[in-house]
């Protein structure tokens, strides 16, 4: 069998693009190298829906950012993904930085960002009393928001699968050949044939392109480190607080997350490896130092975890989207660094247009259902909803993760979902079990048990995140 389109990489770009293509009568495969979706940049980023005043006017980045930002609320509503329109503030600490703020404002106007205002110190402190007394003013961008990036990726994949996309995990593309108008992909799951390829392999998208002899994309890996702080301090600020941007990016932010935690970071450090997601003592220290500058009360005494995300920074400073010059059936989705998450819905539309135009006549898929049913979340449900859920399925009456109040029923749902969880981290990203203050200390072993039971395997076959990340060894003596 030959797919019409093989999308390589199940990050937010690959997932939303596959879903967008599912609106047409096409055979689509979504190929992912790892054990789950959202294992690259899409799981470890700031989760900010940027308003769109950062990028240079006229770039794809600028255009798709503003468009993506305006599409995000509806996409999240369709996919039942938490999104909050909390607005963002770029804070200035000197008159010089106020100039930067004004420049950003002008850029924003050029890019079509709605509703921006420049705030003076008084207005700013009224809006965010926990900001430092050193602030001079800020750019207020009310269209910005926050979203859960991995949940968006998971939901988009689920919805794509429900609409006919074939999702293949542990399917790493290792080589590509082309003959008679068809690509043959050599993968860890064997040969896969496809007429079109979308290269959405994130940090590896340059290497995928090289497989067809296209060397046009040049990426530099840029590491960003973060802390997640306890929900107890989650409302220290209500907006996303940026500092003035520099050459290395948007600087250290302080932001609430959609789940009510506080996020501080990221650093920006160029590194050589594509998969080095270690945190470093230096990086974490930088996060501490700079976040305190914005909000003096921020303290990593409240940290529940830290993590690293890897940006695939394109040397040409813009997204590369569209047909390859080497082979027009090979579609780039490369160099998608921030604001890639924000732009994702717009990028998906853009790419689907490119592909369907290239294909000529493509029939619409009339049975496409854009809605992913809301997942039952015990912690958000009312008493009546809880009663009803438990009456239907008693597993909703058994709390497994007590920090986040996650039930066994929700964990089973996450495993049974289309493209569902296969490992402990997958359960964690889908349900939040293990994401609270004890970080799985209590529920970790229970989640392993439930996974083994539902997947019909031994507990020592269960991994943290696929590959050889097993949690347990042999039986005790």
């Amino acid at each position: 069998m030959c797919f019409d389109v093989a999308v390589i990489g199940a990050g937010v770009i690959g997932a939303l693009t596959a879903r967008e293509l599912a609106k047409y009568k096409l055979n689509i495969a979504l190929l992912e190298a790892t054990n789950d979706v959202a294992m690259g940049a899409s799981k470890a980023n700031s989760g900010i829906v940027h308003a769109g005043f950062d990028a240079k006017p006229g770039t794809l980045k600028a255009k798709l950012n503003v468009k993506g930002c305006s599409m995000m609320p509806a996409v999240c509503a369709d996919l039942s993904v938490p999104y909050k329109n909390n607005g963002s503030l770029v804070v200035a600490f000197s008159e010089e930085e106020m100039e930067t703020v004004k420049n950003l404002y002008d850029r924003g106007i050029a890019n079509g960002v709605p509703g921006m205002k420049i705030l003076d110190k008084k207005a700013l402190k009224e809006l965010e009393p926990n900001l430092s007394d050193e602030v001079c003013g800020a750019l207020d961008a009310p269209s910005a928001g926050i979203v859960c990036p991995y949940e968006l990726t998971i939901a988009a994949t689920e919805n794509a699968v429900v609409n006919g996309v074939e999702f293949k995990r542990n399917c790493k593309v290792e080589a590509i050949s082309f003959s008679d108008g068809v690509f043959s992909l050599k993968t860890t799951l064997g040969e896969i044939k496809a007429k079109y390829i979308v290269d959405a392999a994130g940090a590896y998208s340059d290497e995928i392109a090289k497989m067809i002899g296209d060397n046009s994309v040049e990426l530099v890996m840029r590491r960003g480190e973060y802390f997640i702080l306890d929900k107890a301090v989650g409302n220290m600020v209500s907006h996303t607080i940026f500092q003035c941007p520099s050459k290395m990016g948007k600087g250290i932010l302080v932001s609430p997350t959609v789940d009510g935690n506080l996020l501080i970071g990221p650093t920006a450090e160029d590194i050589d490896e594509k998969d080095n997601t270690s945190t470093t003592a230096n990086g974490l220290n930088t996060v501490k130092t700079f976040s305190v500058k914005s909000c003096p009360a921020v303290s990593t005494r409240n940290a529940i975890t830290s993590f690293t995300g890897l940006r695939a920074h394109p040397v040409n400073d813009d997204f590369t989207l569209g047909a390859s010059k080497v082979n027009a059936q090979f579609i780039h989705a490369s160099g998608i660094e921030s604001p890639g998450l924000t732009s994702a819905p717009a990028i998906a539309e853009y790419l689907a247009d490119v592909i369907t135009n290239a294909m000529g006549e493509v029939e619409k898929n009339d049975s496409f259902n854009p809605v992913r049913e809301e997942v039952f979340r015990f912690r958000h449900a009312s008493d009546e909803e809880r009663e009803a859920a438990i009456a239907k399925n008693p597993a909703y009456g058994r709390i497994v993760c007590r920090c986040e109040t996650i039930t066994e029923g929700e964990i089973i749902d996450a495993i049974k979902a289309p493209a569902g969880a296969r490992d402990v981290d997958g359960v964690k990203r889908r349900t939040r079990a293990g994401m609270g203050r004890c970080q799985g200390g209590f529920c970790g072993s229970k989640v392993v048990e439930i996974l083994a039971r539902e997947l019909g395997c031994e507990v020592n076959e269960i991994t943290k995140f696929g590959a050889s990340s097993n949690i347990l060894f042999d039986k005790t003596k």
Partner: protein, 418 residues
């Protein structure tokens, strides 16, 4: 909605002892709500001996110690619901819980005993840099894998933190055939009991490195090694002492945090040092009718003291439920003097009429020091101690006669004299 005189949250040793004592004191309807499948709390996974030496005068394993209380409970009409999680306690003593059989449970209580125990400090709170490989877990989680589930969580182990669980697990893993390479402790002293250092490390030749921490983890999938380093007096790692140790497992035993989410929801005051509620000598919190005992109040190293403390809470709850008119109260707050980190209880009712025991921990190691109790400028007791260590909880008794002489302006101080 259900009605009970006393609702006990948590069925560990604290919750069980409080319920039994309240029953003995004449409380009619009592219910224990326990989140786990069985009663016993953390004791169920502590299959080593060392429990009950003080209370029963014999060395029992954790489950054996728990069984004594579970047996007693079976001979009473106390209701027990396991696999039942308490979600909320409101300020009118309405308890919300959930389980598979009953769904949502609303229980109106006259009094409540909070006995939720504590949890272990996770990696995230420790700021260890490095990869996110599997094989990094708290010692308590590892203990559960080995003792309850029967699987080995590792073969080459480094343990960070010399709390009792870490020490016990060093021995356990060794007996199961794993190689425990080293136990690192950030502080210049161990946080565990001396007897555990001797019996769990020394007897097996496992090195304990003090003033040493793990600075980085390595390995992409499963843990492959850690970098350890000595720390200076400000606890900062010393670059030149960095050392790579190959291992597949890092166990963390870096302190326990009382589980006070429910307590905080009620609006009960929390002691900044113990991370538990502020209580009086009957373990009543500043919310009337709500009591707290065991590890949720302050971390205990010995279960025997948990039992004693829980009995006070049970008795206090019984008095609260059964006496129509409130007892006469006049509170004095004992003060921590030199070397004393905290005192429990934080408030003493001088009209109580009984001896009152103050529990405390010291902030560093002392050799041949004295523990001095001073009330209204008078030295009530001065006991010589060969050794005082942060890992071992101490106590002093304020005699009833001393309390009887006090008024609300009185002072009580506990201090260490070298």
């Amino acid at each position: 909605m259900l009605n009970y005189d006393l609702v006990v949250v948590g069925g560990g040793p604290a919750g069980m002892a409080a319920a039994l004592k309240a029953k003995e004191c004449g409380v009619e309807s009592i219910i224990i709500l326990e989140r786990a499948e069985t009663l016993g709390g953390i004791l169920e996974q502590c299959i080593h001996t060392g429990f009950g030496l003080h209370y029963f005068g014999e060395e029992l394993s954790g489950p054996e110690y728990a069984a004594k209380f579970i047996d007693q409970l079976e001979n009473t009409d106390i209701t027990v619901k396991t696999d039942t999680m308490v979600l909320d306690v409101d300020d009118n003593n309405l308890v919300t819980a959930v389980n598979k059989q009953d769904g949502l449970l609303k229980i109106q209580a006259k009094a409540i005993v909070l006995a939720m125990g504590c949890r272990e400090r996770p990696r995230g709170a420790l700021e260890i840099a490095g990869t996110r490989a599997s094989g990094i877990m708290t010692a308590g989680t590892a203990q559960k894998y080995v003792n309850i589930d029967g699987y080995m969580p590792g073969k080459k182990v480094v343990i960070l933190g010399s709390g009792d669980i870490g020490l016990i697990m060093a021995r356990r893993m060794t007996l199961e055939g794993a190689e425990v390479k080293v136990v690192c402790e950030l502080m210049p002293y161990s946080g565990g009991l001396t007897r555990n250092i001797v019996q769990c490390l020394d007897d097996f030749g496992i090195p304990l490195k003090l003033s040493t921490t793990v600075v980085e983890t390595h390995g992409k999938n499963r843990l492959e090694g850690v970098t350890i380093a000595q720390v200076d007096e400000k606890l900062r790692p010393i670059e030149s002492t960095k050392e790579y140790i190959e291992c597949d497992t890092l166990m963390l035993s870096c302190g326990l945090i009382p589980e006070n989410e429910l307590t905080k929801n009620v609006g009960i005051s929390i002691d900044r040092i113990t991370n538990g509620a502020v209580v009086d000598e009957m373990r009543q919190t500043d919310h009337k009718g709500v009591f707290a005992c065991g590890n949720v109040l302050h971390v205990h190293d010995l279960v025997d003291y948990v039992t004693l403390e829980a009995q006070l809470a049970g008795e206090g709850a019984a008095q609260y439920i059964l006496s129509d008119c409130a007892k006469e109260t006049e509170y004095v707050s004992p003060k921590t003097g030199n070397g004393v980190r905290y005192l429990v209880p934080q408030k003493v009712n001088i009209k109580n009429g009984n001896d009152v025991k103050l529990y405390f921990r010291v902030g560093q190691i002392y050799k041949n020091a004295r523990v001095v109790l001073e009330c209204d400028g008078e030295i009530i007791s001065s006991k010589k101690k060969v050794k005082l260590a942060p890992g071992e909880m101490e106590n002093v008794v304020i005699p009833a006669a001393t309390l009887a002489k006090m008024n609300s302006d009185s002072t009580i101080t506990v201090r260490v004299e070298e």
